[in-house]
């Protein structure tokens, strides 16, 4: 503890003997309230906390309160109606379906995206020739740049591009498939058929994100000393074994962070859906909670009910993050955050 305090932020001010217990005393405070320290508190603590409370905490509290009212969103008036919005929510088949879609996406999208990203990152960094130094495939920097391209394009543009590619009559995809002689794809509506819509949409999200997570993993793998990989190779580990037993355990914390971020994105997915399936898709198979929330609030004027949806979405997101932490810990992760 003492080391932490004295090695702490304001260097030059050493902790008095007797440790931390005496730090809060009036004598200490009087002596140490220099301009430096006050301005430091102000800039790094008071202002951020004030911002955080003003722009993050208070809207959350407000939204949570509104979820207990029948607020229409267009008057200052509202009545407190307890939990009946939540009761309605859990019998609302459309919302429950949206929730199911989100959960499916939060399972599929992270696993596929991060799996692919890990695969490519390994190839680009340590998957190259087994002779000489540890290195990636030939021209790996080229692949790295190429695969990052989709991430540079804004999500909404990705959505619009792919909605053109999936167009049943004039789209690129059906054009190629029919040219190859697969006549059953003439005018096939990828985004309009309940069997394909959700997979088509998930494909787009994955396509857009693989490059980013690949670059993230590459950076992490580069941080691992090459000797470790060399040692593994000398011990006779192949590429797959190296990836599973060396790479992934060593960059575990990056993988965890990546899981959290991409999971949150999959639980939201609003932008992609707004471009690809603004109406919720065939039989609502691609409807996500954020879309349902938006229509409920702005088209139906039920802001109270929409806030209840928002609260449920937030709870699910936090539960997801908790689940990722728990899984990481069960499989031997030491700490919650990378050191």
């Amino acid at each position: 503890m003492t080391t932490l305090a004295s090695g702490g932020v304001a260097s030059g001010v050493s902790a008095p003997p007797g440790g931390l217990r005496r730090i809060g005393s009036a004598r200490w405070r009087r002596r140490n309230l220099t301009f430096d320290k006050i301005s430091f508190f102000l800039v790094f603590l008071v202002i951020p906390v004030a911002f955080y409370i003003g722009f993050v905490v208070s809207p959350f509290v407000q939204a949570a309160y509104f979820s207990l009212t029948d607020w229409t969103g267009f008057t200052p008036a509202m009545n407190f109606i307890g939990l009946s919005n939540y009761a309605k929510l859990f019998t609302d088949s459309t919302f429950l379906q949206a929730m199911g879609n989100n959960i499916l996406m939060a399972i599929v999208v992270p696993i596929v995206t991060l799996g692919l990203a890990m695969f490519f990152a390994t190839l680009v960094t340590v998957g190259g020739s087994t002779r000489g130094n540890i290195k990636g495939l030939r021209n790996s920097s080229f692949y790295r740049v190429i695969s990052f391209f989709p991430y540079v394009i804004p999500a909404i543009v990705i959505g619009l591009i792919w909605s053109q590619i999936y167009d049943p009559s004039a789209g690129l995809l059906n054009g190629i498939l029919t040219r190859l002689g697969l006549e059953q794809f003439t005018s096939f509506a990828w985004l309009g058929d309940p069997r394909t819509a959700r997979w088509a949409v998930m494909f787009v999200i994955i396509w857009g994100l693989v490059g980013f997570y690949m670059v993230l993993f590459i950076a992490a793998i580069k941080g691992v000393p090459a000797e470790v990989f060399e040692a593994a190779r000398i011990d006779g580990a192949g590429r797959f074994r190296t990836a599973v037993s060396i790479t992934i355990p060593l960059i575990r914390e990056n993988v965890q962070t990546a899981f959290i971020y991409i999971g949150i994105l999959a639980l939201d997915a609003f932008v992609y859906m707004a471009a690809l399936e603004p109406g919720g898709g065939p039989d609502n198979t691609t409807l996500v909670m954020a879309q349902q929330l938006f229509t409920t609030a702005f088209a139906r004027g039920q802001f109270g009910y929409a806030c209840a949806m928002g609260v449920v979405l937030a709870v699910i997101t936090l539960a997801y993050a908790g689940l990722v932490f728990a899984v990481n810990r069960i499989f031997g992760g030491k700490s919650e955050v990378g050191e």
Partner: protein, 475 residues
């Protein structure tokens, strides 16, 4: 205290920031929050000007009219034109016209704060559901009872029935400005070339589908966001067939309303066309404007049910020599309650005047200018669409075949003009999103009449049973 007392280790800090990131990412939650609820005191407290024949609402000289106009297919220049008219007629009044593309999102905070604009064009995909704010809107009866700038009482210059869709529980609060007729649109030149005639019933449509197929064309097509245009057509047909009782059952969300025989007959007629393969496949995955271009530009299908805005919407994607023409929605039998010529006509661009606005009189004066001759003619001429003001479109329709046929359809219908309140296009209870899903699967052939009926009935029942939604009683 301070950070020394409990050392905020990097770890705790990061843990906190990770949690914060997780929270912040669920931003949809924060989107619900308001910026504090304002008071609702500032109702039209502005001192009134002198009421006179030339200033029927008593607009105060020196006041400003705050007009927020939806910037969609029609743009906002026609509203700016009307604003200039107000400024010319009312000394010292300034009109500020501002555009928006998302009416509900932009204006929601202003409504909460009790500071709404004086007049709003509440249109487009992001409009405010009128049901939500109808207690906060001024009645507009005095606008249509006032004299226009030419000295005629405005009410006498309007097409028949145009105020009804804007009247809720007896209060006229929405002035729908741009007249739309709902019809089946086709290329007169293409029909002439092939010797086709316009189908008057669903059976005739079916046989036309056969002929079109012979020429390698489909009969009908749709786009995913516009699948409910077929609902609009179906309801129009059913009302012609079964009369007012159909309309009232639907408008009042009656149990079993979708199972009424006229509606079922129409659904069955459509189903036959779909099963025969006369509907261009893939619509449920096609963006609606792309689908419409398949009709107006590529001529892959030959009939399209839509409102008369279709001409303006597809202006850049219409084949030259297309001669876009409208025909009334088909009936089920030839002895329907209303004749085939009966027309579904409802105006769009719903103008509202919030009663809490600072200058309610100014908002009304703005509407008066829009309904006077100069602004109405200007709108018809520049937008190739008629307003609700009669006699603003010359016989040549400014060279537009669609506009010509629109006027002809209205004349042929005479007093048989009908519309409804609750479903599309008005969509009072916001049901369109759910209905689109059901219609997309019906039109793509994945479901049948029974599934369509059940789907629509479930959506209707859900609204009917939800006590938190205020219902409009339609008679």
């Amino acid at each position: 205290m301070g950070i020394y007392a409990k050392p905020l280790g990097r770890r705790d800090f990061l843990r906190g920031s990770l949690a914060a990131a997780a929270l912040a990412a669920t931003g949809s939650l924060a989107a619900c929050a308001t910026s504090g609820t304002g008071s609702s005191t500032s109702s039209s407290s502005a001192p009134a000007g002198q009421v006179s024949d030339t200033n029927p609402f008593g607009v105060q000289s020196g006041s400003t009219v705050d007009a927020v106009i939806f910037k969609g297919g029609y743009g906002i220049d026609y509203a700016e034109f009307a604003g200039k008219q107000v400024e010319a007629k009312q000394q010292g009044v300034t009109v500020k016209v501002s555009p928006t593309t998302k009416v509900a999102q932009t204006l929601q905070p202003r409504f909460v704060a009790g500071n709404p604009p004086d007049v709003i064009d509440n249109s487009g995909a992001g409009l405010i559901g009128v049901n939500t704010i109808r207690d906060q809107l001024a009645e507009l009866n005095d606008v249509i009872e006032a004299k226009n700038y030419e000295g005629t009482v405005i009410k006498d210059t309007l097409y028949q029935g145009v105020t009804e869709p804007g009247t809720f529980d007896g209060k006229f609060i929405v002035l729908n400005y741009a007249l739309s007729v709902f019809a089946i649109w086709y290329s007169a030149s293409l029909f002439e070339q092939n010797g086709w005639t316009v189908p008057k019933t669903y059976d005739e449509m079916l046989s036309l589908g056969e002929e079109a197929k012979g020429k390698g064309k489909y009969l009908l097509g749709w786009g995913k966001e516009a699948a409910t245009y077929y609902q609009t057509m179906a309801i129009g047909s059913a009302i012609k067939e079964g009369g007012d009782e159909v309309r009232l059952a639907l408008d009042n969300l009656k149990p079993g309303c979708w199972s009424l025989p006229p509606i079922q007959d129409v659904f069955n007629g459509l189903k036959k066309i779909i099963d025969a393969g006369y509907m261009k496949p893939g619509g449920s995955g096609t963006v609606f404007t792309a689908a419409q271009a398949q009709w107006s530009d590529a001529e892959e299908f030959i009939l399209y049910p839509s409102g008369s805005w279709i001409e303006n919407e597809m202006k850049d994607q219409t084949k030259s020599g297309f001669k876009m023409t409208g025909a009334p929605e088909p009936t089920v039998t030839s002895n329907s309650k209303l004749p085939w010529e009966a027309l579904h006509s409802a105006a769009g661009e719903g103008y509202i005047v919030p009663s809490q606005g600072k200058n309610v009189a100014g908002g009304k004066e703005f509407l008066r200018a829009m309904l006077s001759k100069d602004a109405a003619v200007n709108f018809a001429k520049t937008k190739l669409a008629s307003t609700i003001v009669k006699g603003t479109v010359p016989a040549d329709g400014f060279g537009s075949t669609a506009l010509q046929s629109q006027i002809k359809l209205l004349e042929a219908a005479g007093s048989n003009i009908f519309s409804w309140t609750v479903l599309n296009p008005a969509d009072l209870y916001g049901m369109n999103t759910d209905q689109l899903v059901v219609w997309n699967s019906f039109l793509s052939g994945d479901s049948d009449v029974a599934k369509l009926t059940k789907g629509l009935q479930d959506i209707t029942d859900k609204v009917a049973k939800d006590d938190s939604i205020k219902k409009v009683q339609v008679s």
